[in-house]
Symmetry: C2
Subunit: 256 residues, 2 copies
DNA sequence: CGGTCCATTGACCCTAATCAAGCCACGTGG
DNA sequence: CCACGTGGCTTGATTAGGGTCAATGGACCG
């Protein structure tokens, strides 16, 4: 609650069978896998990577040769227009699979940047098809993750297109809170909230100044509290109603 | 160019092997499939469906038991807020696969509505996994389609979040034109453009009135021409530059 | 001939962008 | 120790882009 600092990123385990000791897979937020499939993921896995806060995971205009699973830390996907305006497409939490869109991209795609220090498991892009072939179940899971991410963007698009500033902020706070909740990241009602107001503004399609004013207003109303990089939701129902955004309790999802 | 009316929707062929005579599959916009996979798609296929202009393909708050491939006509995915504000998430052209997000949805999802009369091939949602298992290649193709659709929404999110009105219109016109172009739907430089201004407004996150004014302005500048349900791009480079949206020549994609 | 749908335009207003300044918490180097 | 720069947050003043309201007109239809 009065955090020292963000906990140093947890590194994926090493060794012959790193996935056996995976710190994420214990998490009930993720579906268990058959032994055989776990072994295949291990074979598909090429290593791990550590990125500093603010560092690039995928460069916006460079085609990445890898796929990733975010193991620890927070990140976001974004696109920028040529004059520098940036739109954050979505935030990424541990367990999120990164880089799939590139696989089939005709042209330019998006960048991915770490917000906090982050660690990732890396996979070879070339061998994705191999994985589908060897274990269709994993292919199905990847499709699942892709479809789930698409749903998130859908929500974000509604936000950017049709909600006003307060509604946008309310929706985003609840969305992040619910996602963190599913991943078991709530501590005493507080979630790590490592984003600065520029991140929020870029995610919501608002200016920095207006984001600040809106955030303050909601906080003054007692709906939430944002303190030193941690977020507490004080009035979840009010925020849900304001944002017209009601996320159901989230199911467990696959983890690649 | 001076169209009588939109051509009556073309119906998918019937018979024992409807996919053999599929009118879409001849189209070079779509990747050929091995005989074996085509047979499996046929097995997975449950029939066809015809929807009138304005009719629902998927009801917004009802979980659909089917998946679809749009065979003919135009449609769109949308979400509405509880007070009626609507956001169109994306437009659908023949060949687009519909309903995948539902498959893995925790909660509420989106609606799909036909703009013109439309025909669809229907598939059983329950047997999706079966298809992945029997033909991983088809699973891979479905993932491909999902990833491609996600890229489209990404673009739309940038539009709604960061582009101004003229840029939004320019971007949308070029996006639709390029997609129709790939599908071979350009006739003498004209594309069918069956959307009314409310559709455009809802897709762009603008009001109807402002959409009208912006559309008129661009047309008065000679960038495009919108006439009786058909669109002609007069200054593609200007529109691309204005919208800061440059779509590369599009690759062939899978067709389920 | 009235009703409906859609496009169009003008008048007015408001939300959110822009501009500008000040604040605090830092880290760094003299 | 202090001066300075930097990054992030906060606030007020002003402006503008786009929303809202209202009215008109054409095309089509029963």
């Amino acid at each position: 609650m009065k955090p020292e600092d963000y906990p140093a990123p947890v590194c994926p385990p090493r060794g012959a069978h790193p996935c056996d000791a995976c710190g994420l897979r214990n998490n009930p937020a993720f579906l268990p896998l058959a032994h055989e499939q776990l072994r295949l993921i291990e074979a598909f896995r090429t290593g791990e990577r550590e990125v500093d806060a603010g560092g690039a995971i995928i460069h916006e205009h460079r085609r990445s040769t890898q796929l990733f699973t975010l193991y620890s830390g927070w990140a976001f996907r974004y696109k920028t227009l040529s004059d520098g305006r940036r739109q954050i497409l979505g935030f990424l939490l541990p367990g999120d699979f990164i880089g799939l869109q590139d696989e089939f991209a005709d042209g330019q795609t998006h960048g991915v940047e770490a917000v906090t220090g982050a660690t990732l498991c890396t996979f070879s892009r070339d061998r994705l098809w191999e994985m589908f072939k060897a274990q269709p179940k994993l292919g199905y899971d990847i499709t699942w993750l892709a479809a789930r991410e698409e749903k998130l963007i859908d929500d974000n698009l509604v936000t950017a297109g049709r909600r006003n500033a307060s509604e946008r902020v309310a929706m985003l706070l609840m969305q992040l809170y619910r996602r963190a909740e599913r991943a078991g990241m709530i501590k005493d009602g507080w979630v790590e909230f490592p984003f600065n107001q520029q991140h929020i503004a870029d995610a919501l399609g608002l200016s920095l100044v207006h984001t600040n004013k809106t955030l303050r207003r909601l906080q003054r109303l007692g709906l939430h509290k944002l303190d030193n990089g941690w977020l507490r939701i004080l009035e979840p129902h009010a925020l849900e109603a304001l944002g017209d955004y009601f996320e159901r309790p989230l199911r467990a999802v696959p983890l690649i």
